[in-house]
């Protein structure tokens, strides 16, 4: 067995209570957990590990409270679980480690136990939501990357085919070879349910903890100055054109927009179908050759 899969997950409050006046965030440990995307990453890791007969380790960057969740992942079948204590990379005032720092810490943890074939992550974290950790990770591991993936099909050991969205409804199919980093959408898979005995056994399993090393120099000249309730940015909206008030009025009322003269026809089903096709053809939505 000379391949290895690692799933990277993040312990977050799934339903943080945010005071919409002050922006104060109250975290409740009881509502913390793994995001659907992270769970999908773990499930894919487990499935592919079975297909390739390799191990699937889970690494999490998070506080000690995350160990409860890590035990669930262990029970679900992870070969090992490791927690990176964010300690020194979480710095004031935002108390968030930057994506670059998290990626650096993860890289260290991933490579600690030897070379890796496939790293799986959720596409976005719920709390910060930048989705940039996987690409940093790919850079550090000199790996190929595919972000925001909607389907993963493992081929032979060390090769996978993925589909990812490109926007505008388009998508692309990519082939990746290890080492590779793939971030997945939550809809890709649902984590299997851990067995009862595995769950019970995992309750007192020990969890490896690694201390993250100090923060990278790049973040030093970036600092958070304030955190407030979100006030959406005004989206560009054109004012009505025209120096003449009347032109602006006409533009605002929409009264002069040319429309197809409305027609009402009473029709049988066949006449109706013909009328619809004829109209769509006239507007240019259908070729003369259609139907």
């Amino acid at each position: 067995m000379n391949g290895r899969i690692v799933a990277c997950v993040k312990w977050v409050d799934l339903r943080p209570e945010v005071d919409s006046l002050t922006g104060h965030v109250v975290h409740d440990e009881r509502t913390s957990g793994w995001s659907p995307a992270d769970l999908a990453a773990v499930e894919l890791g487990l499935t592919i590990a079975e297909a390739w007969s390799v191990s699937c380790d889970v690494i999490c960057c998070g506080p000690a409270a995350a160990e409860r969740g890590l035990r669930e992942l262990l029970a679900a079948g992870a070969t090992s679980v490791t927690r990176i204590d964010p300690g020194s990379i979480e710095h004031a005032p935002s108390h968030h480690a930057s994506s670059a720092d998290v990626a650096a810490a993860l890289t260290q943890a991933v490579t600690n136990s030897g070379p890796v074939t496939l790293v799986l992550c959720g596409d976005y974290s719920l709390d910060r939501g930048t989705g940039s950790v996987p690409a940093f990770l790919a850079h550090h591991l000199s790996a190929s990357q595919a972000l925001g993936v909607t389907a993963v099909d493992p081929a032979e050991l060390g090769r996978v085919l993925v589909t990812r969205r490109l926007g505008g409804g388009r998508s692309e199919r990519l082939e990746l070879r290890g080492p590779m980093v793939v971030s997945v959408e939550g809809s890709v898979a649902r984590l299997r349910r851990a067995g009862l005995r595995a769950t019970m056994n995992a309750t007192d399993a020990t969890i490896d903890v690694i201390e993250a090393s100090g923060s990278s120099s790049t973040t030093h000249h970036v600092r958070t100055v304030s955190t407030l309730p979100l006030r959406p940015r005004p989206r560009s909206l054109p004012a009505p054109p025209g120096d003449d008030a009347r032109d602006r009025i006409l533009s605002l009322t929409g009264a002069l927009v040319d429309r197809t003269p409305p027609r009402t026809i009473h029709a049988t089903a066949d006449e109706a179908a013909d009328a619809i096709i004829g109209q769509l053809r006239q507007w240019g939505y259908l070729d003369a050759t259609d139907s």
């Binding site: 690409a135 990519l174 790049t218 958070t224 989206r235 409305p262 939505y285 259908l286």
Partner: protein
């Protein structure tokens, strides 16, 4: 004053989403901001920036290779304090790698880059974090937040950047197998330019068959299928296909409504289609009043007749591109 550079990936001659906004943002902050397009069909993509900037530098590349492209871009961005990249696919692939290569901090998914302060959404959009910086950085800008208004229709001039092209050298970037065009049947309704909608009037009888038929007609017209809330609540069509204020707010060019009366919850989410056809037995319902062609007929029978005429044929090329 900080110098800005807008870096826009292109694909098949089009900018990735949010490219125009990145340019507008950079130019608002720095009227001399450079605009660089990298990718396939960069020259053509530059025409999308008409009225937003005067000149664009182009780097023509073949398929998307984040690791190799970022290697090539390291020299290009020298001198720019702030590099702004769209936070859409390709942009968010590229930005972290470029940041890591150049040692610049990355501020990803910004809502705005206003002067010395960058605003980033946190906690799923409940909070905004204001970040200050005092050195060279890379920022990705969330698409569809800012919007961009062109001041004219003047296309920018273009120059091709001489950049060492490492193509051909070995990289471990993913290999592109295929790009799938938008599939009207599965694409996000909000992005669909042609929509076929079904209402409660199709639910009598064999509703499942009716909506399958509606889907087939949609495919034949190169359109996406949507439905009203009553239909999605009844489970005949999934909720992500519900058109209206409680579902998806859409903006199609053409809308063909079958047996939809046009409750305001539906029509308010419909945008302003240029062309509307409505089929209904009630000539006086709002959907008929809104229609350019109001057909007073039985919607289910009309669907049968349309299926006959259009066949189950796949959309023709013109139906896809018109």
């Amino acid at each position: 004053m900080a110098t800005y550079l807008a870096l826009l990936p292109s694909r098949e001659g089009s900018l990735v989403a949010g490219g125009d906004e990145v340019v507008a943002e950079a130019r608002e902050l720095d009227p001399a901001a450079r605009v660089v397009i990298i990718g396939r069909g960069a020259e053509n993509a530059a025409t999308e920036l008409a009225g937003l900037c005067e000149s664009v530098e182009l780097i023509e590349r073949d398929s998307f290779e984040p690791s190799r492209w970022s290697d090539d871009l390291v020299d290009v961005i020298v001198g720019a304090d702030v590099v702004v990249i769209p936070a859409s696919p390709d942009g968010r692939d590229l930005a972290p790698r470029l940041a890591a290569l150049t040692g610049r901090p990355l501020i990803a998914g910004a809502l705005s880059v206003q002067g010395g302060q960058i605003v980033v959404a946190r906690q799923g959009g409940l909070l905004e974090e204001h970040v200050q910086f005092d050195g060279p950085i890379i920022v990705t800008l969330q698409p569809h937040v800012r919007g961009a208004l062109a001041e004219s229709e003047l296309a920018p001039t273009t120059t091709t950047l001489a950049v060492s092209d490492t193509s051909g050298t070995r990289s471990n970037d993913a290999r592109l197998i295929e790009v799938f065009p938008p599939d009207p049947a599965t694409m996000d309704l909000a992005e669909a330019s042609r929509l076929v909608g079904g209402g409660a009037g199709l639910m009598s009888g064999d509703a499942a068959a009716r909506f399958a038929q509606l889907g087939a007609v949609a495919v034949a017209l190169g359109a996406s299928m949507g439905a009203t809330r009553v239909v999605t609540d009844a489970g005949w069509v999934s909720h992500d296909r519900q058109i209206g204020t409680t579902g998806v707010v859409v903006a199609p060019q053409v809308y063909v409504a079958f047996a939809i009366s046009g409750a305001v919850q539906h029509t308010a989410g419909l945008g302003h289609p240029e062309h509307i056809i409505s089929v209904n037995t009630d000539p006086h319902c709002p959907m008929m009043a809104m229609a350019d062609l109001a057909v007073v007929a039985d919607a289910t029978a009309t669907l049968d007749a349309l299926v006959d005429r259009l066949g189950a044929a796949a959309p023709t090329e013109s139906a896809m591109t018109a």
